[in-house]
């Protein structure tokens, strides 16, 4: 069986096209791809819909790639081949009967392990939830399934989303497909690495303080953090309820847009989910050949001044500067904007996130589900269940959150943090009143080495500087590759750019990101994992 859509052919095609763009930015017609949107998701679903391939063939191909890359990457906590193939077979039989299976018919997707999947173990990366099989699907997962997607498995993550490197998983670290000595970022590191390694077409992640954007940046893929309330949190294992967002990670902006269109929208099971109608986020995305030579004319963008100074790697700064030049070439006006509260967001974020987390994680007491510690006294049973079930980073965060909410400290920490949150939100919204989008790096560095920051939690927390303000403000952002750092040294690692939009302005934001992606020609090399596996095959 040779599915018409092969990973190699797609990548080659993309390399060809981007090379052409680089050579002749004005002559974009050369890289025209039959008018269809760019990305393996669009290609795959068109193939399935045209019956050029079957969901089963597609799923089989992806499972093969998944397992082949998995030994090096460890992206998944649970993969159930039979389970995936059963879903695929069902879709094929429905297609055979002429049914409209949905916009993601046959698309193999991975789901971050903090999203509940009925009948498939969900641990949120925690030992405490080992063996926990949810009785229901998270709303985002249920919507993917209803749209015809095939869930391949559950991706690794920092325990309960608490971490930025996937090293805080209770089970295993995940490695970066670009260089397996480096972390994939986190907490949605499993999802981002799996997408980058093409173990799946797209994945769901969650973003509380950057957990979609930072790993997308580290792994050179596209991540969308939607507006708070755009995607239902029902079934998302809560980390910090007022900040948590579910969003897609994909290989292209158009693919991410297609997934977001499916999962977004009001939900009776989530009272904080917006009632605003959902747009088709792919509708405004123009194929390359339909773009004018200055597609971003009259767009006003601003670089966040505070996000570009001290503490940001030179390679990241350079890549971003290149991106700014390209945006200007496309006709956009790019200014600088100062957000004085920018740096205050990080401590406020940690106070709020950890306070909420200390409360949200109280339910892991060993009484009703998950692991129960043995003890002959109630208090000891709680202590034993929680000590053995929850990792040290989680314990640290629960302790800090509990402290912040304690009588006598509440006003100084939680209340003050909420005031800072209001300030951050106001400032960002004011800036977005003047500009169509704000931009900054998704992380101050590229993917760091495994173990590099493990013993220095504070420096890992600092890495969230670029992303947390958005969660405080509830705003949407798209993170997409904007270049490489360290290319000259031979260990090129991707750099991600963050485009920040107005609340519920995902459509505009995705349009902007799509135009940039289609014209910048950034990703031209393969992650090392393919080179290694290719050489392994030749042995």
């Amino acid at each position: 069986m040779n599915p018409p859509h092969t990973l190699q052919s797609y990548t080659e095609m993309r390399v060809l096209r981007t090379t052409n763009i680089r050579a002749k930015p004005a002559d974009m017609r050369l890289s025209l791809v039959c008018g269809s949107l760019h990305g393996p998701l669009h290609a795959a679903r068109d193939q399935v819909a045209r019956r050029g391939t079957s969901a089963t063939e597609l799923t089989t191909a992806y499972l093969r790639q998944l397992h082949s890359a998995e030994t090096q990457l460890q992206c998944f906590l649970a993969v159930d081949d039979e389970y995936a193939l059963r879903q695929a077979a069902l879709i094929d039989s429905r297609l055979a009967q002429g049914e409209d299976v949905g916009p993601l018919a046959g698309v193999p997707i991975a789901v971050k392990d903090n999203l509940c999947t009925q009948g498939l173990q969900t641990t949120a990366g925690s030992r405490g939830l080992h063996g926990f099989v949810p009785t229901y699907d998270a709303t985002a997962v249920a919507r993917l399934r209803a749209a015809g997607a095939v869930v391949l498995g559950k991706t690794n993550m920092d325990e309960f989303g608490m971490g930025s490197s996937c090293e805080n998983s209770g089970y295993q670290p995940t490695f970066n497909p670009w260089d397996t000595k480096h972390v994939p970022g986190g907490s949605s590191g499993g999802s981002a690495a799996a997408v980058a390694a093409k173990q799946c077409i797209a994945a769901l992640g969650s973003d509380t303080g950057g957990s979609i954007r930072q790993p997308a940046s580290f792994c050179g893929v596209v991540g969308v953090k939607p507006t708070y309330g755009r995607v239902s949190r029902n079934g998302l294992v809560a980390y910090a309820s007022s900040l948590d967002c579910v969003g897609p990670i994909a290989q292209s902006v158009a693919d991410a847009a297609a997934v977001l269109t499916v999962i977004a929208g009001s939900d009776l099971a989530d009272a904080t989910c917006s009632q605003k109608p959902v747009e088709d986020y792919t509708a405004g995305l123009l194929p390359l050949d339909n773009l004018s030579s200055k597609p971003l004319a009259f767009k006003r963008l601003a670089l966040i001044q505070e996000a570009c100074g001290e503490g940001v790697d030179a390679g990241v700064t350079a890549a971003l500067a290149g991106a700014v030049r390209h945006l200007q070439e496309l006709g956009a006006e790019v200014e600088q904007v100062s957000l004085p509260s920018f740096a205050a967001g990080l401590p406020a974020y940690y106070v709020i996130a950890l306070s909420e987390a200390s409360s949200n994680l109280s339910r892991y007491d060993g009484v009703r589900f998950g692991q129960r510690g043995a003890a002959n006294e109630l208090k000891n049973m709680y202590a034993s269940s929680r000590h053995s079930g929850l990792g040290s980073e989680v314990a640290r965060r629960i302790l800090m959150g509990t402290y912040a909410l304690s009588a006598g400290y509440y006003d100084a920490y939680y209340k003050r943090a909420q005031q800072v949150r209001t300030l951050v939100r106001r400032e960002m919204n004011m800036a977005l009143g003047r500009f169509d989008a704000l931009l900054c790096p998704a992380a101050p560095t590229t993917a760091y080495r495994v173990g590099e920051k493990l013993c220095d939690p504070l420096s890992m927390y600092k890495g969230d500087l670029m992303t947390v303000n958005l969660n405080l403000a509830g705003l949407p952002a798209v993170c997409l590759p904007c270049g490489f750092s360290g290319q000259a040294a031979g260990n090129a690692l991707p750099v991600g750019m963050q485009l920040i939009g107005r609340a519920f302005g995902e459509a505009d934001l995705l349009k902007l990101a799509h135009i940039y992606e289609q014209t910048s020609g950034v990703v031209t090399i393969l992650p090392s994992v393919f080179i290694e596996s290719a050489s392994a095959k030749h042995d």
């Binding site: 903090n114 999203l115 509940c116 009925q118 009948g119 969900t122 949120a124 939830l129 063996g131 926990f132 099989v133 949810p134 009785t135 229901y136 699907d137 998270a138 997962v141 249920a142 399934r145 949190r233 029902n234 079934g235 998302l236 294992v237 809560a238 910090a240 309820s241 007022s242 009776l268 099971a269 989530d270 009272a271 904080t272 306070s355 909420e356 200390s358 409360s359 994680l361 109280s362 339910r363 007491d365 009484v367 009703r368 589900f369 692991q371 129960r372 002959n376 006294e377 109630l378 208090k379 049973m381 709680y382 509990t402 909410l405 304690s406 009588a407 509440y410 939680y414």
Partner: protein
């Protein structure tokens, strides 16, 4: 009752179409060999008896004054200081948890019925499963607002929910969703009718501090012991977890056990009249926690406050308060102030005393913070007005109306105690019966019948239409039948033979030949016959044995098979007896 042990394995729960819904599979948790976090230590039996000795004295003292109980040191048998006689008063506040009678729970779609098979009304949401979120039940808000309006409280158009955090096996999420600093209802009062030492009553207004919405916890069932301490294992039934509660906090305005009982009864009456709760204390759908301290009368500062729980009737609440007043006064009088500490005590119904459950070392830190899973609760003025307009008559208004009908205080209290009784009574009035005889019948034979055969008043109305009772009353009033015949006819009416009134009762009475003989001529004939047949007694009467009048009445009644109109019979009989022999 069947309980399931979850043990270490994962138990799957059915759900429909991927959306968390009510579980069909039952499950529970078994916590084996768990000792109590707060060990229950009972008061020594010595303390218990000592305090009991004084209960009677306190109870009598408690009822005397309406503005506060007078408990003097002289009532204490253990007092050793006869010289200084300090007059104490109790300061009492009550926290009432009212279970709102919504079809489903506060934050999920599970049924909130009482008495279901353990762990049959549960779902991932009320079990606090990972990823689940609360969604507020609109009916909870509606019922909470109705209750707030009935308590004359201010309804906060913008309130919010908070998390109250603590660990306990019956609390699924490790926090309770409650309202902390911005409750749904603030301020208010309730009118309480307190029986005083005589036959009368006095009326007091008790302030309401606040009323807020929250969710209930599950229920622990201990194996091998009454409490968690000492039990071999404990089981959790989560049917009650997430059931909506309205917690109503009173001002410390109450002074006696009798007032507290009256307050509780009025609160229950209000909730029942509104239809927002069934207020059943035995089933736990209404629970009262008492905060009580004593102080020398005239002192403004409060004494040390003790909380009492575990009373399953208003009567028990009264006795618990009376016991506690004596215990505290006794301790203070005896120089044992150390025995009155800030703590939670439980009422032991069997031994009629309170005992210490846990000492409160400072204030428990519940680490309240705003519930991020629920948006602010915003109500419109129009919504509140609409509910205000839909309010039924409240007990206080009913009492005023009934007093206006000329009924006695006692009648009013009996009739207004239960909305169903009041509704039946009103229907009897509406069918034309005068108030006083209607009250007598409803409160008398009819109520006795309902109690005897355990018949609800709505069921009663289905059998004996209020109009049928009204017609019977009118037959008595117009002399068609006597009150005695009325009592004889009642069973037939209770069996439905009175139809819907409007002539059917008269037809029944006539068919049975029970219509009174009021015709003077007919009565005179019977009287004459009786007198003729008892000439000896007649002579004796006329010679001065006037006591024999009763004998003649009885004889005439017997002769008329009870149908003689008593009034007319007496008139004719006296006429004949007085008449000189012809």
């Amino acid at each position: 009752m069947t309980y399931y042990s979850m043990g270490m394995q994962v138990v799957r729960c059915c759900s429909r179409a991927g959306v968390p819904g009510p579980c069909t599979r039952q499950w529970a948790v078994q916590l084996r060999s768990l000792a109590a976090t707060g060990a229950c230590r009972r008061a020594s039996s010595g303390t218990c008896t000592a305090a009991l000795r004084n209960v009677a004295a306190a109870a009598s003292a408690a009822g005397v004054a309406t503005d506060g109980a007078s408990i003097s040191s002289s009532s204490s048998s253990t007092s050793t200081q006869p010289a200084a006689k300090v007059d104490y008063e109790a300061v009492i506040g009550i926290e009432t948890h009212v279970q709102l009678s919504t079809k489903t729970k506060a934050f999920c779609s599970c049924a909130s019925e009482f008495g279901a098979e353990p762990n049959s009304n549960i779902c991932p949401v009320c079990l606090g499963h990972p990823g689940t979120l609360p969604v507020l039940n609109a009916d909870v808000v509606r019922k909470g607002v109705l209750a707030g309006l009935a308590l004359d409280a201010t309804i906060c158009l913008s309130s919010k929910f908070d998390r109250k955090q603590y660990f306990y096996p019956d609390l699924p999420k490790g926090y309770q969703i409650s309202q902390y600093d911005v409750p749904l209802c603030e301020g208010g009062w309730v009118e309480v009718v307190v029986p005083d030492s005589g036959a009368g009553t006095s009326v007091r207004r008790i302030g309401i501090t606040r009323a807020h919405l929250e969710e209930d916890a599950g229920k622990l069932v201990h194996g091998g012991a009454a409490s968690l301490s000492g039990s071999d294992y404990s089981l959790v039934d989560f049917n009650r977890a997430g059931v909506p509660l309205l917690e109503i906090v009173s001002e410390p305005d109450l002074r006696t056990g009798a007032e507290a009982a009256a307050y509780g009864a009025e609160m229950r009456r209000i909730m029942r009249f509104l239809g927002v709760s069934d207020g059943n204390m035995a089933e736990g759908s209404m629970r009262c926690d008492v905060n009580i301290s004593v102080r020398p009368r005239g002192r403004a500062a409060f004494g040390t406050k003790v909380e009492i729980k575990n009373m399953n009737s208003f009567n028990a609440m009264q006795r618990a308060i009376e016991f506690e007043i004596v215990r505290q006064v006794d301790a203070l009088e005896g120089g044992r102030e150390g025995e009155v500490v800030q703590e939670t005590r439980l009422w032991d119904e069997g031994r009629q005393c309170t005992y210490s459950m846990r000492k409160k070392e400072g204030l428990a830190d519940y680490r309240y913070f705003p519930e991020p899973d629920l948006p602010e609760l915003t109500l419109t003025e129009a919504y509140v007005q609409e509910l205000r307009a839909s309010m039924p008559e409240l007990p206080r208004q009913l009492r005023e109306r009934l007093l206006g009908l000329g009924l006695s205080q006692y009648d009013v209290l009996v009739l207004s105690d239960d909305a169903e009784v009041a509704a039946y009574f009103d229907a009897v009035l509406a069918a034309g019966a005068p108030a006083k005889p209607a009250a007598n019948w409803v409160m008398g034979d009819v109520m006795a019948h309902c109690k005897e055969v355990r018949l609800g008043w709505e069921q009663l109305a289905a059998r004996m239409a209020p109009a049928a009772l009204a017609e019977m009353i009118s037959l008595i009033e117009d002399g068609t039948i006597s009150g005695k015949i009325g009592k004889d006819v009642l069973p037939a009416l209770l069996a439905g033979e009175g139809g819907a009134g409007g002539g059917s009762v008269r037809a029944l009475v006539e068919a049975r030949g029970l219509v009174q003989i009021s015709d003077p001529a007919a009565l005179a004939a019977i009287v004459d016959g009786v007198l003729a047949a008892n000439s000896k007694q007649l002579q004796a009467y006329r010679e001065g044995k006037t006591k024999l009048q009763g004998f003649f009445v009885g004889a005439v009644m017997k002769e008329s098979k009870g149908r003689a109109n008593p009034k007319e019979l007496n008139r004719i009989l006296m006429q004949r007896l007085a008449a000189p022999p012809s």
